[in-house]
Amino acid sequence: MSSMLEIRWHGRGGQGAKTASLLLADAAFDSGKFVQGFPEYGPERMGAPITAYNRISDERSPLHSNIYEPDYVVVVDVTLLDAVSVTSGLKKEGAIIINTNKSPEELKPKLEGYTGRVYTIDASSIAEEVLGNRSLSNTSMLGAVVAVSKCIPEGKFMEDVKTSLNHKFATKPQVIEKNMTAIERGMKEVKSA
């Protein structure tokens, strides 16, 4: 099988981790890839830890299981570092991307000895500034993931994600441009140690 990229998202119910994983699947699909985007459903309630997954590949993947050895882990809610083993199985050649106003160095002690790359992005602040709501961090996290993983060429991604947002927010067109700004800032402001 040709190379396949596997991404695991950690968030809390209501923060849009599932939506971000589906937007990434959409954008990767538009760039010509085979995709999977699926959530793992636990108790469906606001605030409960949830997991979502992406597989992105050049050939269809027949795998229908969760992802245990991801190339990238995305943490939408930094408080999960104290609650869930987010680095479990994460490949050391891969990276973890965390939504926080702290630096990668400050968070490393919480990553259970993970030796791969650590990225941070203050997606909640971007969400507050651009969208007026700290909890809408998922779109800037999406931008950060594309910038770090390079799973889709950036220019192509910006075109494709716009199409997806137009579709998703067909009845709320006023939020499309703001989300595009949030994505762009996520791509630019993500930083590593």
Binding site: V35, Q36, F38, L63, H64, S65
Partner: protein, 395 residues
């Protein structure tokens, strides 16, 4: 070859799209997780005028199936969608539909039956309905779920069959997973499914009764006829799979034999985990191990001959059941596969695994373990315990 449209849809979106393209006369439906989205989407199509369907929002699944039965008896093209306890509440009517030889399609988005209550995937719902006289097709992914809908409709409506048909797929695992899919154009679908013209129905102007008391003098004969229809349906299924293959290039058979030609060890499995089993099979093949996967696509009628032939040269077989039948000797797929092989001159050693109940994830490790266990079985020359579990704690 028909034109193909590249898309990405979840399994539920794929089913809703298929139903939109079929544009049935009547849908009676009541939402239940994880099939709810299909009902949402379809209600939206109705509200937006994208279909001509009479959509009947009912107060229970018992009524949803009753609506379909009434509509089918009146000559309508009809169907519904449900999961788990919703299917259980239809139980009485499932037999009424098939017993009256009423064609319709039912998408079952497989989910565990209560109790204790669980909303996640296994096959206890549709496996329990396996003896209700319905055709049953199983789908590995969104593409098969989509394609099976068109074929199921043609099979059900065929004059040699006239039985309702279920299309099953795994709840959440495929119903809520976005994956690539190739869609067909409406015009090609219209042509493939044709217009539904039943020979007789309640409102064709000629007197007809549907559903009166069937006396001792006739009931047995009617059951015999239903069983004969199920026997005849296998040839019809093959013919319609072939027609669909000619149209789309997607060639389906009653079973899918994956690297089975020279396989010494085989896993028999249906629905989404067949894909995961194939990945494990590929990895073991790369190391030179002679392993294969036999995926069952058609479970009713049961393709006993085809399965026996595919397993006739295999040394050891593991049959996977995502439902227990609580017979204390194995699950429903196992019972049928083992029975199918009874007449073989060289019967393979065969064991059963209950797996993935109530949404327990089925990772590649499960299948590596099962193939490894089959090595032991071959080495020992006997099965040992046939009723096994994989992926459950404390075993």
């Amino acid at each position: 070859m028909a034109k193909s449209i590249r898309e990405r849809l979840s399994g539920n979106e794929a089913v809703a799209t298929a139903l939109k393209q079929i544009n049935p006369d009547v849908i009676g439906a009541y939402p239940i997780t994880p099939s709810t989205e299909v009902v949402h989407y379809f209600a939206q199509y109705v509200a937006d005028g994208q279909v001509d369907t009479e959509f009947v929002a009912v107060e229970s699944e018992h009524s949803a199936m009753s609506v379909c039965i009434g509509a089918a008896a009146a000559g309508a093209r009809t169907g519904t969608v449900t999961s788990a306890c919703g299917l259980a509440l239809m139980w009485e009517l499932l037999y009424v539909a098939s017993g009256h030889r009423l064609p319709m399609t039912l998408n079952v988005i497989n989910r565990a039956l209560s109790g204790p209550i669980n909303i996640n995937n296994d096959h206890s719902d549709s496996m329990g309905a396996r003896d209700s006289g319905w055709i049953q097709l199983y789908s590995e992914n969104n593409q098969e779920a989509y394609d099976n809908n068109f074929m199921a409709l043609r099979i059900a409506e065929h004059k040699d069959v006239l039985l309702p048909a279920m299309v099953c797929q795994d709840g959440f695992i495929t119903s809520h997973a976005i994956e690539n899919i190739e869609l067909l154009e409406d015009a090609d679908i219209r042509k493939f499914i044709g217009e539904y013209k039943p020979e007789r129905h309640l409102i064709d102007g000629k007197p007809l009764s549907v559903g009166p008391y069937d006396t001792v003098q006739f009931y047995f004969e009617h059951q015999y006829q239903r069983a004969q229809a199920m026997i005849k349906s296998k040839a019809v299924v093959k013919q319609i799979f072939k027609e669909f293959g000619d149209l789309t290039g997607r060639k389906y058979d009653l079973i899918e034999e994956y690297k089975m030609e020279d396989a010494e060890r085989a896993i028999v499995v249906l629905n989404s985990s067949a894909g995961t089993a194939k990945v494990v099979c590929d990895q073991l093949r790369a190391k030179g191990e002679k392993v294969g996967v036999l995926k069952i696509r058609l479970f009713r009628p049961f393709p006993a001959e085809e399965i026996a032939k595919a397993l006739s040269h295999v040394k050891a077989v593991a049959v996977m059941d995502k439902a227990d039948s609580f017979s204390a000797v194995g699950g429903p797929v196992f019972a049928d596969v083992r029975s199918a092989c009874y007449e073989l001159a060289n019967r393979p050693l065969m064991v059963n695994y209950i797996y993935g109940l109530g949404g327990r994830d089925v990772p590649v490790e499960n299948f590596f373990k099962v193939y490894e266990d089959l090595n032991e079985v071959i080495k020992n020359g006997k099965t040992g315990n046939i009723y096994r579990h994989v992926g459950v704690r404390g075993v």
